[in-house]
Symmetry: C2
Subunit: 202 residues, 2 copies
């Protein structure tokens, strides 16, 4: 029993890392099992298909990211300061990834959106929900800032989606140029997109 | 001779379409040749490898896009109006793609950046050059607008890269949600990122 759940965990860890590094299509079940150090037969005991595995990897990654976003975006800090902290955390995560494996792997959800969304409807649908949840969380903070008269933007939901789009676009450049430098623009660009002034730092 | 170059053209057309639809990793040479209707042996007569083919597909796609961007961004229209036309053209291209094949295939360069940039240095380098060229073209227009006192942004190059990032991020959402609706925000967001007012439409 202990051994069984250990094998599932090993498959998930290997798949997460391989999908981040090389995408989904390039991987085969045999390679995932080899990297995980488990016999290929055990794969289908835990996962119906490679797609089912990818969905579980997405789920686990989102669970962790959702926790981190919630912690930052619902803290006691002032609303705009929370957004600044979100971008800082994004940059720190990509930086840590680069230090541990030499390359910036980008955003798992952005990577899979461009690679997979036209190929499997189950993955497309889950990624749509995740990006909607992200926009909704950012929208909540913008709405608070708006109530405080700190932003001039009218349509907070569209603004939230544009901020997530800017984040995905700059993460794309961070991955392509293998440097986190593009992410340093996120805060200034967020203020511009919101029609906001930088708050006084406390 | 006529037949030979015809076969190369068929391989390129098939590869372009397959890479747009399904990415690079998921494709094999056999499938490309089958779609192109040419014998597999002829592939290696024209291309050293699948990577060499992908580089040629990128080159041809950029040649066409560069022509379109140049035509729009160096026209006689006022600078900010040219940027508006660029976003309109982007939306029209994605719309036409959706009408012809049912799905929005996104930006070939963005797709390959997230799928491939950590896997082949030759492709990474070419995509870096293309996005630099795009930012440079947009920078030229922003600089003109700045000389006319129409934008308040100081660092025109960083602003240009942020506009291209916004475009890539919104194209990602267009692909994921299979609708061009996110692209309708590009113009307003561009003005916000530049600290500009919408010019009077003529």
């Amino acid at each position: 029993m202990g051994r069984t759940s250990d094998a599932k965990e090993k498959i998930l860890t290997a798949a997460h890392s391989l999908i981040e590094q090389r995408g989904y299509s390039a991987l085969g079940v045999a390679e995932i099992c080899k990297t995980a150090g488990v016999p290929k037969g055990s794969f289908y005991y835990f996962f119906e298909s490679k797609e089912a595995l990818a969905l579980t990897v997405i789920e686990e990654h989102w669970a962790a990211e959702h926790r981190a976003w919630t912690q930052i975006l619902t803290s006691d800090a002032e609303p705009l300061e929370r957004l600044r902290q979100l971008f800082e955390a994004t940059q720190a995560t990509q930086q840590a990834g680069q230090e541990s494996c030499g390359v910036i792997s980008g955003c798992l959800f952005g990577n899979l959106s461009l690679e997979m969304s036209n190929q499997t409807e189950a993955i497309r649908e889950r990624l749509q929900q995740i990006f909607e949840a992200q926009a909704q969380m950012v929208d909540g903070v913008i709405t608070e800032a708006r109530e405080r008269g700190e932003v001039t933007v009218q349509d907070t939901r569209t603004a939230a989606q544009s901020i997530v789009a800017q984040l995905e676009g700059q993460v794309l450049f961070a991955k392509l140029y293998n440097t986190t430098a593009p992410l340093a623009t996120l805060w200034t660009n967020c203020l511009a997109l919101l029609g906001a002034q930088a708050p006084a730092r406390t």
